[in-house]
């Protein structure tokens, strides 16, 4: 399931839904991303997440579908917020449930890695030194590249 929303979400309620009424689930893996008070050595007062309505949902659905195709999963969930957020605020939740824990872990890591380089969100950070658009990070590209076709086994099974 995909949700793109301005309002906060309740991780406990969301995660419960990944196994509720489904006793085939042996494990749920989840990742919650939050706004930090520092970005590198810059203080962050707040940030505004801009996105591309329509394409965001389409891309997140593609990422979810790709995960469902790669692993044997019971449920997957991506919730991503947009708008103005402050340090400590939740930005994103990705989660996967599966009969077996390794599939849940790998799928969850895949969801956030691919989302980071594909979902059309842009962070505008405000701090004491002014505001600026956050630059994409090479390490996010590398994290996503681990999951490229043909390298998947190498990335996770060694």
């Amino acid at each position: 399931m995909i949700r793109v929303q301005q309002e906060d979400f309740d991780p406990g309620a969301e995660l419960a839904r990944l196994s509720q009424g489904n006793t085939s689930v042996g494990g749920v893996c989840a990742f919650i991303g939050l706004v930090r008070d520092m970005a590198g050595d810059r203080e962050v007062g707040a940030m505004t997440l801009e996105h591309y309505p329509g394409m965001t949902e389409t891309e997140l659905a593609r990422v979810e579908e790709e995960a469902q195709g790669r692993w044997s999963l019971e449920e997957t969930l991506i919730i991503h917020r947009y708008g103005r957020l402050e340090p400590g605020d939740r930005i994103v939740l990705v989660a996967a449930s599966s009969a077996h824990r390794q599939a849940a872990f790998d799928a969850c890591q895949f969801l956030i890695d691919w989302l980071k380089t594909r979902a059309p969100f842009w962070k505008h950070e405000e701090g004491p030194e002014g505001a600026h658009w956050v630059e994409a990070r090479g390490e996010d590209d590398e994290a996503a590249a681990r999951w490229e076709e043909g390298e998947m086994g190498a990335a996770k099974n060694e």
Binding site: R118, W122, K123
Partner: protein, 83 residues
Amino acid sequence: MKILYFAWLREKTGTPAEVVTLPDGVADVNGLIRWLSARGAGFADAFAEPSLVRAAVNQEHVKLEHPLADDDEVAFFPPVTGG
């Protein structure tokens, strides 16, 4: 066609979205970037460094060589930074 601009491309062009007719001689995204850049200082500035610009056509990531049709929705934006 509809053209959308996000993040600093929106700021530099001063345009969140516009509707234009596919200009004569523009066959792909690169051609559209050249045509837009000739429109004025803000557009020239936004597209000055093509390596920083990403594009989507009909809400799908594409390379700048992607062909264009007049009923396409084209979007320009920097590399994404969500998550």
